[in-house]
């Protein structure tokens, strides 16, 4: 579990992270979203003690990261896949990590196989592609099979197969009771991966909750062969109607599917589609983080 309480970071007069608080429960994948410069990476670095906070605290499994006797055994972290020595081989990099954490050397081969770069293990990291470095970073985070994973932009450089693989990896980790926090700019990918969202804008948390609740919209979207007629009928019944995404679609605010269906049935209007007017994650993102 990760608990962040009032985490704040100031650089002179500028507050880049402003009283950020959230709690991540075991068994969940939480997406940490925000525009560039919103404070996501700074928050993650404060959780791991790489950047000292100006105020507040972050606890991992009930303790500050620096107070954990073997932190990498509790939380696997990927913040910057480029933070590796280009002169070392992938295997050497992981062997040094494994020896520091205290996991058997055989585990190195296992995680290399798991992330799919076993064939490149003996090559110098300087010759790795971005995707390979990303996978190496993920391998390092998984070495101790820690209960908590924190990844900053883990999909960078991964191809579609790799993104799907990573999504399944994180979902399985949560299904086993693990806790996952991942930040990403790939909103579509986040939407398919996470259970919860924490959205940060200008250093402050602007949304925090289950993704289904956050994306739930107000009203319904209805598609019909006679949009003009149906719109008139709905307005007559007291429902505000606005045009939808195309000429055949109408958005009916503050109404349930049952209500709209009833009006349509009374008027003999043929419906070709009726669904809740959920917001897309992109719409939510821009709405919440607009300056």
């Amino acid at each position: 579990m990760i608990t962040v309480s009032g985490l704040t970071k100031r650089y002179g007069d500028q507050t880049v992270v402003d009283r950020v608080s959230f709690t991540l429960e075991p068994g969940t994948v939480t997406g940490f979203l925000g525009p560039n410069g919103a404070g996501k990476t700074t928050t993650m670095r404060m959780v791991t003690g790489l950047v000292p906070p100006s105020a507040g605290e972050a606890l991992v499994d009930g303790r500050r990261y620096a107070d954990l006797p073997n932190p990498a055994a509790v939380m696997g972290t990927l913040l910057d896949a480029g933070a590796v020595h280009p002169g070392r081989t992938g295997r050497t990099h992981l062997r040094i990590l494994a020896d520091t954490i205290g996991v058997p050397a055989r585990r190195v081969d296992e995680v290399l196989e798991l992330v799919g770069i076993a064939d490149a293990a003996r090559r110098r990291i300087g010759g790795y592609s971005l995707g390979m470095r990303q996978r190496l970073g993920i391998a390092g985070a998984l070495l101790a099979d820690p209960p908590v994973l924190m990844f900053d932009e883990p999909a960078n450089g991964l191809d579609p197969e790799g993104i799907r693989w990573m999504r399944e990896l994180l979902r399985r980790h949560a299904a086993r009771g693990g806790t996952v926090l991942l930040s990403s700019h790939l909103l579509g990918e986040v939407q398919h991966t996470v259970d919860r969202l924490v959205v940060i804008g200008a250093g402050r948390v602007v949304a925090d909750g289950p993704i289904a609740e956050l994306l739930a919209g107000d009203g319904v979207l209805v598609r019909t062969l006679d949009p003009v007629g149906l719109a008139a009928a709905l307005r007559a019944a007291g429902h505000p109607v606005t045009p939808g995404a195309d000429p055949a679609e109408l958005r009916v605010a503050a109404a349930t599917a049952e209500q709209v269906g009833t009006v349509a049935a009374r008027g003999g209007h043929v419906l070709t589609g009726l669904r809740p007017a959920d917001r897309g994650l992109e719409d939510l993102f821009f709405q919440l983080t607009a300056a």
Partner: protein
Amino acid sequence: MTAAVLDRAPVVSPRPATRRASLTRLTGLEIRKSLSTRSGRALTVAAAVLPASGAAMIFALGEQPPNAAILLAVLGSLVAMLLLAVGVLATAGEWTHGTVQTTFLTVPQRGRVLTTKYAGMALLGATIATVVVGSTYAVAAIGAGPGFSWQGAGLAAVATVASGAALAVTGAGIGAAVANAPAALTGTYLVLLVGMTILNGVKPNWGRNVDPLAAAFNLIGQDSSTRSVAVLAGWLVVTAVAGAVVTRRRAIS
């Protein structure tokens, strides 16, 4: 890389250590880090091998020094610069390549990390210096002619090992304070090769009390031992403390 890989049960249960890694283990890992890259290995090998090559050349050219201490002092100056670089790369190299992030994610206690880096460099410096002594004396035993004195060879050997350790730690302190390998190396060489040369020329009394390379030379050559120890110790302490202060306060972004 497919989902099928995830379906396999893990072969090995990681079972990581529940306690902090010991200082001994971390020190060993720091030495291993230094030797795990081509640049680190090249510097280490060069530092260990060049003096013996230099000794062979000296004897081959007929320029035999009077005794083992002087021979070691001359060749030790070659090694001194390389040992400083080994130390610098052990600390500043981590900042330059970003591996400091991984280091502090696995061992967040920065004082602990720096202590083991300094200890590791002391051991590595001493080991390299020991190889230098052994190989140089071996060459001298073969190539030295009559008139070559082995008097003081033991003390010179001890002084070389101690200087080697001190200079490697000094380099590590410089690297930790500057946190940028190219800048640390350039600055170190400018100060020691240019700055000290000017100082020794303009104010030789000051230079004698400040120049660490001259101090190492004098210590190995068994001249002005007390002052030389004080100069080397002063550089070690000042740079190590500076490195510790900067490392503790620097954010890793």
